[in-house]
């Protein structure tokens, strides 16, 4: 379970461009819930993810994972129980390392990185089987450098790497936004499959309203640091694309977009 409690975030405090994005903002995500977050630019959705991950500081409030506060932990410490897939397909993998080396690094997360052999040969079959389940024909490319793969292939591997070790929480940061429509669909389906299979708690920020409506069991719409729509379960399933679009246009208009 993830809880964002009473957070306050002010950009450029004490200057003329001071902007109070969050003012005592709270949000709770239940264990095993897959939340999609939509909202126009500047609505605070990416800031929210960055606050949870510790990439940006906050002026007040607390972030709790499984009931324990992580607000004082540094970003890398928080990733011990968290996975993240970025918008940029290059961000989740090391381009000059082979796919096998990348997967081995991800597989070793949470253990020590000492002087033992980096690639565990006994795990190769497991990696191959995981890659096979992606259905992208990547299982024969273990020795290929990550940088030689396409954006979609890299994102699929990044997703695999982010979820390879046990997680409390998965963050998807507009992870299909940089992909072509067909690849975006494939990655979205893979994401859904991985989340279901591993029973992950996940939070997905997306600009693709259809993805937000079709996937996940809760939808949030944000505007200027507030949640303006929050539907889960049956209510979420009854929500149509049109409802969301109407609402989205409304808030966009208010923001002058």
């Amino acid at each position: 379970m993830l809880e964002v409690r009473d957070i306050t975030k002010v950009y450029n405090p004490g200057t003329v461009t001071e902007q109070r994005l969050f003012d005592h903002f709270s949000l709770t995500v239940e264990e095993g819930q897959f939340v999609s977050i939509v909202g126009s630019n500047g609505s605070g959705k990416t800031s929210l993810l960055n606050i949870i991950c510790g990439s940006i500081p906050i002026e007040g409030g607390d972030v709790l994972v499984g009931g324990k506060s992580i607000a004082r932990q540094k970003d890398y410490q928080r990733y011990a129980s968290m996975g993240r897939v970025y918008q940029n397909p290059a961000a989740g993998t090391a381009p000059n390392l082979t796919m096998l080396e990348n997967l081995s690094l991800a597989d070793n997360k949470g253990r020590s990185f000492g002087l033992s052999r980096g690639v565990n040969r006994r795990r190769v079959d497991f990696y191959r089987q995981q890659l096979q389940s992606l259905g992208l024909g990547l299982e024969d490319k273990l020795d290929v450098k990550m940088g030689a793969l396409s954006g979609g292939q890299r994102q699929a591997v990044a997703l695999l790497m982010a979820t390879m070790t046990p997680l409390q929480f998965l963050i998807l940061d507009e992870h299909t936004a940089a992909l072509d429509p067909k690849t975006a669909e494939i990655i979205m389906e893979l994401t859904d499959k991985v989340i279901r299979e591993k029973h992950l708690t996940a939070m997905m920020v997306t600009h693709n309203l259809r993805h937000a409506v079709e996937y996940g069991d809760r939808i949030l719409m944000m505007s200027r640091g507030h949640v303006v729509l929050d539907r889960a379960g049956k209510e979420k399933r009854a929500t149509s694309m049109d409802d969301i679009l109407t609402m989205f246009n409304q808030i966009s208009m208010e923001c002058g977009n």
Partner: protein
């Protein structure tokens, strides 16, 4: 002529240690570490002092490694913990080390007398290589050291720690995602790099029997040039039919895809050879650094890299 070739080979092998260090910071960490220009004479100063004090010559190698690692630690802490930009962090170390080196050596020059043993003349060396001439011993020892360091680095890059080091220069946010502090990994890389550079300075001191405060000037440029020449050349070779044919033949595979560390040794030798040729054509010694700089510029332009993306290209 043969003498000149052997002495160039010795130079290339000894300076390959410096190039290994530069390879780690520049190619792997993507960190232009100017501290190298201070760490190199630091290794030499420490060695000259210890040799004169009568410390076992072979022990000076270990001590130089440690002292170099300490200099790397300093640059790393300044950059990572005090958040000073990479280039400036190196410059701070370089500048500070200039005084530190003078302090250690007690002056701008410290010659090591003929009577003092170096690793090339020590009794322990003579027991094994006594049958060889002095330059023969220099060649064997520098070759063995360069190959040992190369093999150790090759092995290290394949360990978990080595993979993490390669990942941090490649994509630092991946290291954060792996719940590791990318700053600590960078500091570790800088320590290994500077340890090797100081070891290079140590060997140069053994070889030339002297320390001079200005011997560090241009070492980073030399190291970079060696790395770029070697890596570019090997990349070119890797695309040839010969290399492709070798890769297909299992037992000869390693000849078809040589490692970057081998490229660095070759690059180091070629660069020293270029300088040597320029000198033997009658170029005055005062022009040495100018030649070094012009050659480096040539290498950058010819390799089409201009210095901004050495390995990620």
């Amino acid at each position: 002529m043969a003498d000149l070739f052997v002495s160039t080979l010795i130079q290339g092998l000894i300076y390959a240690l410096v190039s290994f260090g530069v390879y780690i910071t520049y190619s792997i960490l993507d960190f232009p570490d100017l501290g190298v220009d201070g760490t190199f004479p630091l290794g030499a100063a420490v060695t000259a002092l210890l040799l004169i004090k009568g410390v076992d010559p072979w022990l000076t190698l270990v001590i130089s490694l440690l002292v170099g690692a300490l200099a790397g630690l300093f640059t790393g802490v300044v950059h990572v913990r005090l958040k000073v930009r990479d280039l400036l962090a190196g410059i701070i170390t370089m500048t500070a080390l200039f005084s530190v080196n003078l302090l250690i050596a007690g002056g701008a020059n410290l010659p090591v007398e003929r009577a003092v043993d170096t690793i090339f003349t020590a009794p322990s060396t003579m027991a094994v290589l006594g049958g060889l001439t002095l330059s023969g011993r220099k060649l064997v020892i520098s070759l063995v050291l360069a190959v040992i360091v190369k093999l150790v680095l090759d092995l290290y890059f394949k360990t978990k720690s080595g993979l993490l080091l390669r990942a941090v220069g490649d994509n630092a946010s991946l290291v954060t995602s792996l719940a590791r502090d990318k700053g600590s990994v960078k500091i570790l890389g800088l320590m290994i790099s500077n340890a090797l550079v100081a070891l290079g300075g140590c060997l140069v001191c053994h070889e030339t029997r002297s320390f001079s405060a200005t011997m560090g000037t241009g070492q980073l440029v030399f190291g970079l040039a060696a790395v770029i020449i070697g890596v570019s050349l090997f990349r070119f070779y890797g695309a040839t039919g010969l290399a492709q044919a070798l890769r297909r033949c299992r037992p000869l595979r390693f000849l078809g895809s040589p490692r970057d560390t081998t490229a660095v040794i070759v690059g180091s030798f070629l660069y020293k050879a270029c300088i040597q040729i320029a000198m033997s054509l009658g170029l005055p010694t005062n022009m040495l650094k100018l030649v070094t700089a012009v050659l480096f510029l040539l290498v950058l332009v010819v390799s089409g890299r201009k210095g901004e993306e050495i390995i990620h290209a």
